[in-house]
Amino acid sequence: MSAQISIQPARQFCLKCLLMLLIISGLTISSFIYLSLNPADLFTFQAMKNMAEFIGRFFPPDLSADFLEKIWQGILQTLAISALATLIAAVISILISLPVSGRFGPIAKWLSRFFCNFLRSVPELVWAALMVLAVGLGPFAGTLALTLHTMGVLGRLFGETLENNPIASSNALVLSGSGRVASFLYGTLPSIAPQLLSYSLYRWEMNIRMATILGFVGAGGLGQMLYYELSLLREAQASTVIIAMLLLVVLVDAISAKLRRIQMHNLG
C-alpha cells in the first residue's frame, strides 16, 4: 500500500516540470525550423572559412593620424549627443514628474504615465529613424531621439521618486502662500535632487552606449562613421571605429564603477 501512495506524487512532480520543459523546447525547435536555420550549417567548414576570411579583412585596423582625428571627432560628437540629450531630458522630466506623481490629479497622472510609457517603449533606434525623417541626417536627429526616449524613462523614474517623497515640505510652503510650482522647487526638489541626479547619471551612461549606434540610421556619432565605412567596404577603417566604440564603453564602465565606489565610500 505504501508503494501505491508514493508513486502518484512522483508522477505529479515530474509532470508539471516535464510539460513546461517540453513546451519550451518545442517552441525553440520550431523557431529554428521556421527560420530554416540549422545550427549545424553554421559550423560547416565553408562557413567557418568565410567567417575567418571576413574577420581577416578587419586586421590591421587603420591607425593613420588623420583617421584617428576623425575618430576623435566622432567620439566627441557621440559624447555631446548623449550629454545634451540626457541634460534636456532631465530638465523636462523634472516638470513631467509632477503630473506623473499625481500632484495634478488622477487624470493627469494616467495621461502622463501613458505618455512616458509610450516614449520609453519605442526603441531609441526607431526614434532615431523617425527623427532623421523630421530633421534630416546628422547628430541633431540623434540628440532629439535620445531626448525623447530618455524623457520617457526619467519622467517615470522622477515621478515615482517624487511620489515616494513625503509631501510635508512642499505643503508647508503652500500653506505659507507659495504657488504649487514654487513650493515644489523650494520644498521638495532639494531633498530628492541627489536621487534624481543619480538616475540621470546612470541614464547618461546608457545613452553613451546608445549614441554610438544611433548613427546606423544616420543620426551621427561613431555609429554613422561605422555604417559609412562598412558600406564602402573599408574594413580596416571600420575595425578602428569598432575598437573605439569598445574602448569608449569600457572606459565609461570603469569610470562609473569607480565613481560609485567613491560614493559608497562617502556614504558608508
Binding site: Y34, F140, G220
Partner: protein, 255 residues
C-alpha cells in the same frame, strides 16, 4: 562655466532647433505623420506584419537558445574553477586561472560590442535576413548570460557540494546536486528576462537588415508610408506587452 561646456556641446551635436521648423522638413514630417491615422489595416499588409512578427519572435527564441549554448559552458568555465576550488582542492590551479582569464576576456568582447554592430557585420557575411539577427543575439547575449550565470553560481553556498565530494562524488555530479539546485531558479528567471529583451533587440536589428518587424518598419519609413509605420508601431508595442506577460507567467511557474 556651464555655458563653456554647453556651447561646444551644442556645436558638436550640430544642435539646430531651427531645423525642426524648417518648412521643407515640416512638410515631409507633416505629411508622414498625417498618414498615421488611420493605420494601414489592409489584409495583405496585415499578413505581412503577422509574418514579420512571428519571424521576430522566432529570432529572439532561437537567439537565446544559441546564447545559452555559448553561455552555459562559458559561465561554467568561469565559475567552475572558482566554485570547484571552493568545493575541493585542485591541483591544476595555474591552468584554471589562465583558462578563466581567457574566458573572461572573451566574455567582455562579446558583451562590449553592441548586438546591432554584430548584426551589421553578420549581414555582410550571411546576407540580409534573420540569420544575422539570430547570431548577433547569440553572441552578445551569450556573453551577458555567461557573466550573470557565473555571478549567480559564485555567490552560491558551496557547503552541500563539498559534503557530496566527501562522500566520493565527482566534481560535476556534486556541482549538479549541491550547487545548482539553489541557483537554478535565479538562472532560469534571468534567462527568461533576457528573452524578453531579445524580442525588443530583434526588432531593432531589423533596421540593419536582419529581418523581422524592424526590417519591415525600415522599409515603410524609407517609403514615407505613415499608415504602414503606425500599424507596425502599434503591433510592436503589443508584442512587447505580450513578451512581458509571457515572461511574467513563466517566472511565476518557477517559484
Amino acid at each position: 562655466m556651464a555655458i563653456c561646456i554647453l556651447w561646444p556641446m551644442l556645436q558638436l551635436a550640430q544642435f539646430e532647433p531651427m531645423l525642426l521648423i524648417d518648412p521643407n522638413n515640416t512638410k515631409v514630417m507633416g505629411d508622414f505623420l498625417v498618414q498615421f491615422i488611420p493605420p494601414n489595416i489592409q489584409l495583405e499588409f496585415l499578413s505581412l506584419v503577422l509574418k514579420a512578427t512571428v519571424e521576430t519572435l522566432a529570432m529572439a527564441t532561437a537567439g537565446i537558445a544559441l546564447a545559452m549554448i555559448i553561455a552555459v559552458p562559458l559561465g561554467l568555465i568561469i565559475s567552475y574553477s572558482l566554485s570547484i576550488s571552493r568545493i575541493g582542492p585542485t591541483s591544476d590551479h595555474q591552468l584554471a586561472q589562465f583558462v578563466r582569464f581567457i574566458a573572461r576576456t572573451l566574455m567582455l568582447v562579446l558583451r562590449g560590442i553592441p548586438e546591432i554592430v554584430w548584426a551589421l557585420l553578420l549581414v555582410r557575411v550571411f546576407g540580409l535576413g534573420p540569420i544575422a539577427g539570430v547570431l548577433a543575439i547569440a553572441i552578445t547575449y551569450g556573453g551577458m548570460l555567461a557573466k550573470v550565470y557565473s555571478e549567480i553560481l559564485e555567490s552560491g553556498n558551496t557547503l552541500p557540494a563539498r559534503a557530496l565530494i566527501l562522500s566520493g562524488s565527482g566534481r560535476v555530479a556534486s556541482f549538479l546536486y549541491g550547487l545548482l539546485p539553489n541557483s537554478a531558479q535565479e538562472l532560469a528567471s534571468y534567462t527568461i528576462y533576457r528573452w524578453e529583451c531579445a524580442v525588443r533587440a530583434s526588432v531593432v536589428m531589423g533596421f540593419v537588415g536582419a529581418g523581422g518587424l524592424g526590417q519591415l518598419m525600415d522599409q515603410s519609413m524609407k517609403m514615407l508610408n505613415g499608415g504602414e509605420v503606425s500599424t507596425i508601431l502599434i503591433v510592436f508595442l503589443g508584442l512587447v506587452l505580450l513578451a512581458d506577460y509571457i515572461s511574467l507567467v513563466i517566472r511565476k511557474q518557477l517559484v
